[in-house]
Symmetry: C2
Subunit: 304 residues, 2 copies
C-alpha cells in the first residue's frame, strides 16, 4: 500500500492506493493554505495522520507540476505553486518518516507511469503520454522506462513549437487558448447560428456542443486536432515514437479532435512513421494524479 500525492496549483490530493489501483482513502487540501505553512511541511503533517490510520503504507510518491532535480530528490521550480523552489523534499520527508520509500517526479511523467501501471497503457513498451489540461505536459515511456533526457526534465512538450502562427503546442492547446480560439471563431458570421456563440464559451461547453453537431464546436476541435498533430510530428521526428496516450481534461473531447490529429500526421510524415500509429484516451479522471504519483513507487529508472 502506498500514498500518492498530486500537488496542483489549486489543491493537493492525497490517496492511499492498493497494488491493484484501488483507492482505500482519499483527501484533498487547499494549496494556498498549505503554502502558508510550507508545502512540504503541510504534506508531511497530512501523511503522518494518514499513516496513523494506514500503518501498512510502505512508500510515498509525489507528483509536482514543474521541474525536479535530476537525482529526484529536490524540486527546482514550480511555476504555479508559491514558495517551492530548490526545496529538498525527499530529505525532509525521510527525516520525519525514515522507514518509508519517498519518490518525487514531475506530474505529467507521473501520469504516464500511472497509465502504464494502472491505466490504458498497461503492457505497452513505448508511448508518449500527453496531458491536455490548463497547460500541456508530457511523459515518454521509451523501452519500458521513463525518459528523463539529459538533465532530468525531458518532454516539456507544451513548449515545443508548431508551424501554426509560430506558436507553441501550449499556446494552441492550453485550456485558455482553446477558449480564446473559440471566442474569436464565434465572431465569424459563418458561425452566427451556433448556439455556442451566444454563451460564455468554455471547453466543457465546446465539448457538449460538439456532441450535438454544433459547427462552431466541431471547428474548434478540428483546430485542436490539427495543432496537436503538428506538435506530435516534431516529437515523432525526435523520438520516433508513434503510440500516444492522451490525458487531461481536454481529452474528454478525444473523439472530436483525434481524427484531425491523425490526418495531419499522415499528410506530413512518410509511411514509415505512420505504420502502426495508435492513439489511446487515458483512463484518467479525478484520481489520475494520485494514481500516477503512487505508481512512482513501482518503477525504477534513472536514480529513482
Amino acid at each position: 500500500m502506498v500514498i500518492g500525492i498530486d500537488v496542483g496549483g489549486t489543491t493537493i490530493k492525497f490517496g492511499v492506493i492498493k497494488l491493484n489501483g484501488e483507492i482505500a482513502f482519499a483527501k484533498r487540501i487547499d494549496t494556498m493554505q498549505a503554502a502558508a505553512a510550507g508545502i512540504t511541511d503541510a504534506m508531511i503533517k497530512e501523511v503522518k495522520s494518514i499513516i496513523a490510520e494506514f500503518p501498512e503504507v510502505e512508500g510515498i510518491g509525489i507528483g509536482f507540476p514543474g521541474l525536479v532535480s535530476k537525482d529526484r530528490k529536490n524540486v527546482i521550480l514550480l511555476p504555479n505553486v508559491p514558495g517551492v523552489a530548490n526545496e529538498e523534499v525527499v530529505a525532509k520527508f525521510k527525516k520525519e518518516l525514515p522507514k518509508l520509500i519517498v519518490k518525487i517526479e514531475n506530474d505529467a511523467k507521473c501520469a504516464a507511469l500511472g497509465e502504464l501501471q494502472f491505466g490504458e497503457a498497461k503492457g505497452m513498451t513505448d508511448f508518449l503520454f500527453i496531458s491536455l489540461g490548463t497547460g500541456v505536459g508530457g511523459g515518454y515511456i521509451c523501452d519500458k522506462k521513463l525518459f528523463l533526457g539529459s538533465r532530468g526534465n525531458a518532454t516539456e512538450v507544451g513548449h515545443m513549437f508548431t508551424p501554426m502562427e509560430g506558436k507553441t503546442v501550449e499556446q494552441h492547446l492550453g485550456l485558455h487558448q482553446i477558449t480564446e480560439y473559440a471566442n474569436n471563431l464565434a465572431k465569424d458570421p459563418a458561425f452566427a447560428t451556433s448556439d455556442l456563440s451566444k454563451q460564455n464559451i468554455n471547453p466543457k461547453l465546446i465539448f457538449e456542443a460538439a456532441t450535438k453537431g454544433d459547427k462552431l464546436a466541431l471547428a474548434v476541435w478540428e483546430h485542436v486536432g490539427k495543432a496537436l498533430g503538428y506538435g506530435l510530428i516534431s516529437m515523432m521526428r525526435f523520438s520516433d515514437v508513434n503510440k500516444f496516450v492522451i490525458g487531461g481534461g481536454v481529452a474528454g473531447a478525444f473523439d472530436f479532435f483525434i481524427p484531425q490529429t491523425e490526418k495531419t500526421i499522415r499528410e506530413n510524415l512518410p509511411a514509415y512513421y505512420c505504420d502502426g500509429i495508435e492513439f489511446r484516451k487515458a483512463s484518467d479522471g479525478e484520481n489520475a494524479g494520485i494514481l500516477g504519483a503512487a505508481s512512482l513507487i513501482y518503477h525504477s529508472y534513472g536514480d529513482n
Copy 2:
C-alpha cells in the same frame, strides 16, 4: 583496426581506421556506379580487396544517409541513394565475411559517435550533435549512449518545426535554403553595396564574405543562427540536453552564427535550461564520415 564506410548520395568513402583514429588507408567510389551493381555488393567487393591488404581488420562500420531498422540489420529507406530499400545489409556482409563484426547506423548518428570517440565530444556524457550539410541530421548521446528512440530512427531533427514561417529546421538550414535566403536578401536595396550580391552566391562565398565583414553575409549567418536556435529550443524542451556539437559543411561558419543561436535560446528559455549551455564545433572535416562509421564498432547500444 576497423573499416569505416560512409555512404553518401555522390560518393561512398572507405577508410581503414586505427584505434587512435589514425587513417591507415582511404578510398572512395562513385555512388551511382556502385548502385548499378547494387550498393551492398559493390561495398563487399571493395572491403574484400581492402582486407587482402589489411588482414588485421576486425570489424566494419557503415553509415547510411537514411532510416535503418531498429535491430540495425537492414536499411529501410535512403532518400538520396537509389536501389537501397529494405536491404539486408548486415546479413549480406556476414555471408561473405563471416569473421568480421558488421554494424550499420544512420550517418548523422555515426558522426555523433565519431565525435565522442575521436573528436570534440571526447568525455562528454550528454550532447546533441547536429549535422548542417545539404540536409540537417542529428545524433543524440544521452547518458553515454546513442539515443535511438522507440523505433530506432530518432533525432531526425531537420524535420522538426520552427516558429519561423512555419518551416522546418532543414527548410531554413539546408545548404540550398541558405543560398536561397541569401539570394532573396541580396535583392534588398539595403545590401546593394555588398560584393556578395554581385556573385553567384553559395554558402562558401557567404562564409568568406563574412570574414571580410560583408553586411549581407553577416545577415545571412544571423538568420541561420536564429533558425538553429529556435530548432534547438524544441529539442531542448523534449530532451533537456544543453550541450551541442555542430558539424557538417555549414559548421565552417560556426563563429558567425552561434552567437545568434545562443542569444535566441537565452531569450526564449528559462535560466534552468541555459545554465551550463555549451556549443562546440565538430572536429569534422573530410574524414568525419569514415571516422564516425568506424566508431560504431566501439559502442554498444540497443541491439547493436
